[in-house]
């Protein structure tokens, strides 16, 4: 089924529920449906075969998601923060397209062949008023959403999500109109992130009012939670640390907040513990998923958070850094390089299968014929089946034939009170293939040897970083992903430079 049916159903069952924006003047379910129908009629009359969206989060984004679905046009939100040349290239790849964009984006995007631009304001005006129920397209296999991956080293890949992938995720994990009328969720992930898309779909279907933060700052986020009496929110790990700093500085907690989920990167244990201690009544959820899996495939639920925090058993305690258990509708296996399933406790590649898994890119399918998709994430399962994700497979350090997961070493280095942030990387080494280096942020200063002995004491000697570089801060993208490759090439280039200097003498 098409994603717009989720809205049709919800609007039919509870038309006057305010779904987007502030009460009492926000957009109701039936208001959203009418807007989407009018938007669809407009899009249907354009030449564009796809609909792109370049702009901040706002009500128009939700309208555009469903209008595209009704019009049977793939929807492609673009990262408006990209440099002009990159953004225009992605727009050209989406052509022929109707491009909905913030007014101030028009001059940046104008003149791309096969692209018709319309501002968010004009689109919103077109969508005002009653909409007519059109003849609806419906096929599971139609393309619903195309998302460009962040592509830190090469040209971004266009990940394809079909209507069947997204609707099966929503139907199997969300209770229809199950939200309390007083509930409100704060969306702070950008529209071009899979979590931005799934937030729209799951909020509509659960009937949970959605408040959108145009762009994230920790101060705005905290203000919005207070002003809008927010009960639910999703953040990426870097956001949470900054939010806690604001709460500490203001000396407040967030009494309306009941559930806070996080994902999109590795959460430092110290940060989640700090959050749990500050807000013990809040239900924390760690959600793991990829663009290619239509969002969440594994969840560490609130009970597991509390059990891990309270436990004296190291195996249970450790689960605070796991992503919990796979969804009941997703099969998950850890496999070695030969494709064989490995025993619990052994690191391998995370493979998944299920209706929500697309595993597909424009021009290339990564999903196998039997439905299994290799995620390119390294991970392992503990004895109870809790999943630990160790990062991208490409980031695993291979030193003298031994696989070393950077996160294992990072977790130990973070234990040192002087260490604010850390990244552990492999750089080319003539003798070992790769050797371990660490990039450390420690504003107060710390002796290299102190950090090395800490790793040596907690892990094996082969895990000890051979070199430690000190940084003021580490590079992250705007959704909180550490730019490892960027950091690695910077360090490698620096090392080459030093070797060159030595040779020149």
């Amino acid at each position: 089924m098409h994603t717009h049916l989720l809205l049709e159903m919800a609007a039919d069952a509870d038309p006057d529920r305010v779904l987007v924006g502030s009460r009492p003047h926000g957009m109701t379910l039936v208001g959203l449906l009418n807007a989407a129908r009018r938007g669809a009629a407009f899009l249907d009359a354009r030449a564009g075969a796809t609909v792109t969206y370049a702009g901040l989060n706002g009500p128009c984004f939700a309208v555009a998601v469903f209008a595209s679905s009704i019009a049977g046009r793939p929807f492609t939100p673009l990262n408006y923060r990209l440099p002009d040349a990159d953004l225009r290239r992605l727009l050209a790849r989406s052509a022929p397209a109707t491009a909905i964009c913030d007014a101030e984006m028009i001059s940046r995007l104008d003149g791309v062949e096969g692209v018709e631009l319309i501002s968010v304001e004009d689109f919103a005006r077109i969508c005002e008023g009653e909409g007519e129920a059109p003849a609806l397209p419906d096929a599971d296999q139609d393309v619903a959403v195309v998302l460009f991956t962040s592509g830190t080293t090469s040209e971004p890949k266009a990940a394809i999500l079909r209507h069947g992938n997204l609707t099966s995720y929503v139907l199997s994990t969300i209770e229809f109109l199950g939200a309390d009328p007083e509930d409100a969720t704060l969306v702070s992930v950008p529209p071009y992130h899979i979590a931005g898309i799934s937030a729209v779909l799951t909020s509509i279907y659960s009937g949970r009012r959605m408040v959108q933060l145009p762009a994230f700052t920790p101060e705005d986020w905290v203000d919005a939670v207070v002003a809008e009496r927010i009960t639910h929110a999703m953040v990426v790990p870097t956001m949470l640390g900054r939010i806690l700093d604001v709460l500490d500085a203001r000396g407040i907690t967030l009494p309306t907040l009941r559930a806070l989920s996080y994902g999109g990167g590795r959460m430092p244990v110290a940060v989640i513990e700090r959050a749990m201690d500050l807000m013990p009544a809040v239900d924390f959820v760690n959600a793991y998923g990829l663009t290619e899996t239509s969002s969440t495939i594994s969840v560490l639920d609130p009970e597991s958070h509390r059990a891990a925090r309270a436990s004296a058993d190291p195996a249970v305690r450790r689960r605070l850094s796991s992503v919990g258990l796979p969804l009941p509708v997703v099969e998950l296996e850890i496999r070695d390089e030969a494709g064989e399933q490995v025993a619990s406790g052994t690191v391998g590649e995370v493979w998944v299968r299920g209706d929500q898994i697309s595993g597909e890119y424009a021009g290339k399918k990564a999903i196998r014929d039997d439905g299994w998709f290799p995620t390119n994430d390294a991970g392992w399962l503990d004895a109870e089946g809790y999943l630990f994700v160790e990062g991208r497979l490409d980031d695993v350090i291979v030193r003298g034939g031994e696989n070393i997961s950077p996160s294992e070493v990072e977790d130990v280095l973070r234990l040192h009170t002087a260490v604010q942030d850390v990244a552990v990387l492999g750089v080319p080494d003539q003798e070992w293939g790769e050797r371990i280096v660490a990039a450390v942020v420690a504003p107060g200063g710390v002796a290299e040897e102190e950090l090395r002995s800490l790793v040596r004491a907690k892990l094996r000697s082969t895990r000890v970083p051979e070199q430690i570089f000190f940084y003021e801060s580490l590079p992250y993208n705007e959704t909180g992903k550490l730019l490892r490759r960027h950091l690695r090439s910077e360090i490698t280039a620096g090392l080459d430079q030093r070797v060159g200097d030595v040779l020149a003498i």
């Binding site: 089924m1 098409h2 049916l5 049709e8 159903m9 039919d12 069952a13 609806l136 419906d138 599971d140 609707t167 139907l171 199997s172 994990t173 969300i174 209770e175 229809f176 109109l177 199950g178 969720t185 979590a195 799934s198 937030a199 799951t202 659960s206 949970r208 639910h232 999703m234 559930a259 989920s261 994902g263 239900d283 959820v285 959600a287 969002s295 969440t296 969840v299 639920d301 609130p302 969804l327 009941p328």
Partner: protein, 102 residues
Amino acid sequence: MALPAGTKLASAVCTAQGIVIRPPEADGEITCGGVAMAVAGEAAVAAEALAEPQDGQALPGKRYVDQTTGLEVLCTKAGKGAFAYDGRPLTLKEAKPLPASD
């Protein structure tokens, strides 16, 4: 009768309504409380309203499936009647709601 995904269904014997979310692999008749449902806004057949709730009565937000044909119906409004397809009662598909994650 063909029942593509998105087809709206209304009971002739109670307040139940539903929507097809997975079409059946074989044509057949969808009933509620034993009487053919009104499909896609067509007029319902005349029938006496149910006095008492049936076993498996339609509950809003729940999904009901026919194992034989794969038909899946989401109940959008509650009613006293139970859904069936070609005489086979549809069974409740248990979904474990996820703690809010997006």
